[in-house]
Symmetry: C2
Subunit: 328 residues, 2 copies
């Protein structure tokens, strides 16, 4: 467990500096406000993230991907309780690119998860970040950083599906969990291309439906090592709470493996590369939109391109390196 | 009609320079090769696009969006024939972010469209550009530029749906066409939010199903002017060829309107702004990936971020402006 900074009780959230102080003291309301700033792509979020950054890097981040309806929310709900019973603080960021969850089972889970809101060791947040200038993945991991600074020991990132962007988000975590379920009846079990290369832990959920042996055998046959780690395959029945202990153990084993081998640092560097480029993109978009010297230069470049005096690639080079000679 | 540069018959495509010469001479095979380079995000594509850029800007570009199954392919197929009968050269770029078309009617159209391949005044190309470093929209309009330089008078950009990225692509064209169809039975016709603001021409396709009057009336009641232009609403039955003359006339009227009012230049500038930023993003991604001075600086920044010595936003600022003091 981490040291807690004393909370400034009853203080008004006047500034980003106060919000950050409250966050570091474990104040969940400050965390919620900061994540809203990130969601809305507010410039204050940049300041806040710079301040909290030195206080991050302690949480273990687990990304979940898998087709809709496979039971990711139920699994995470069970895992939250399991980790609380092991006295670990747990954060959840549910990435929702379009709209709030609907539909019986998932909504039910969401409500049950919200019940843990009185527990200071749990923080759950759904993020709607459509149109974020730095991209969905950047906003998601900025929010993860807030939960990290809040003092959470483990943070789950839940995506809604297994599409390109969901997989990209899940694989930026320290541990990537791929959730599948057995097909019933005569349907042939097919895995999405590429899904066998991305997971550190594979979960065969809804094992109570039967038919799971074929899927488990298929996975074990096809999976190959990632960073020297042979992916675990865990059977669960999330709605009944079966297999959750084994899943939590597998997550902890993988976290320990990353620490022992140095692969945690390697994954941090890989994520840093992506985040620096995404921040650069956002910084450029913001800078050219205002009435700065760079904004005026950009306006002139756009006029030149529209008039076919300059091609867009050459214009981009001038925007990035206005005075430097061309570098090959 | 445009002047044709004499073709270099039988010449091998040894270099980008040769490919561009052949393209400007009206060689469709050169166009296909250049679009493949764009699709694969090859650095040669950048050189080629810089060379052809001064020869572009003459084609009128029309983007189509609308839900899957609404008949966009059939409409475009009919429009291609219509414009050929008016002695106009026509290009089509079908944007396909995931996989080739499947399904009876659409595939049927695609095959019929391919039949026009012997006509030098038609060029049709499906683009699969998943994972393009500059984004799907950038790759699409780079391909449009190839067809423009090939000498096409009008280029149709066909998207597969009406999601965020499809709408973004369609609205980068000079003229944006939104295709809808009447609902049959008791279903209530609802329009996606925002769809009423983006179109210059609205098509109510499958008018032969009946019930189209309600949709047409709804559209006319709700549509407002865009750049001073009140959007046209056209009824078509693409499979029977009804309404195609009226649609082509509406497209030509809008093209003339853009020329007369200066809004064509305004739209070119808006697209240039987006394309410059996207090119800058791609340029950065490429530059940091190689063993240049900038690549080494980037590696060091990523190490600093992973070690929490520097936050990703500050690292992005150092990447973009290594020597400049911080500008607010």
């Amino acid at each position: 467990m981490r040291e807690a900074v004393p909370a400034r009780k009853g203080a008004a959230h006047d500034s980003v500096s106060d919000l950050v102080d409250d966050l570091l003291a474990g104040n969940k309301r400050a965390a919620a406000k900061l994540i809203s700033l990130i969601e809305d792509d507010e410039p204050e979020a940049t300041d806040a993230l710079a301040r909290i950054f030195p206080h991050t890097g302690r949480a273990h981040v687990v990304g979940f991907t898998g087709p809709p309806g496979v039971g990711k929310s139920s699994l995470i709900n069970r895992l939250v309780r399991k980790y609380r019973s092991r006295d670990r603080k747990v954060g959840v960021v549910a990435v929702d690119p379009t709209s709030p969850y609907t539909g019986g089972a998932v909504l039910g889970d969401r409500i049950r998860m919200a019940d843990t809101g009185v527990d200071p060791g749990v923080f759950i947040r759904s993020m709607a970040t459509r149109g974020h200038a730095g991209g969905l993945a950047l906003a998601t991991f900025d929010a993860v950083r807030v939960l990290d600074a809040l003092g959470m020991d483990i943070v789950f990132v839940e995506t809604v599906g297994a599409g390109q962007s969901e997989v990209e988000i899940a694989t930026r975590a320290h541990t990537t969990v791929v959730v599948e379920m057995p097909m019933t009846g005569d349907a042939v079990q097919t895995m999405k291309a590429g899904i066998l290369e991305i997971g550190d832990v594979y979960v065969v959920n809804k094992a109570d439906l039967g038919n799971e042996d074929v899927l488990v055998a298929n996975l074990k046959f096809q999976l190959t090592a990632r960073d020297g780690w042979i992916p675990s395959v865990i059977r669960t029945a999330a709605t009944e709470g079966r297999g959750i202990d084994e899943l939590a153990d597998a997550l902890d084993r993988h976290a320990a493996y990353l620490d022992q081998t140095g692969f945690r640092a390697k994954r941090e560097v890989a994520r840093a590369r992506l985040e620096i480029l995404e921040n650069a993109q956002r910084l450029l978009s913001r800078r050219v939109a205002n009435r700065s010297r760079m904004g005026r230069a950009f306006d002139a470049l756009a006029e030149d391109v529209a008039a076919r005096r300059l091609d867009p690639h050459a214009a981009a080079r001038k925007l990035l390196w206005p005075t430097r000679p061309r570098e090959k």
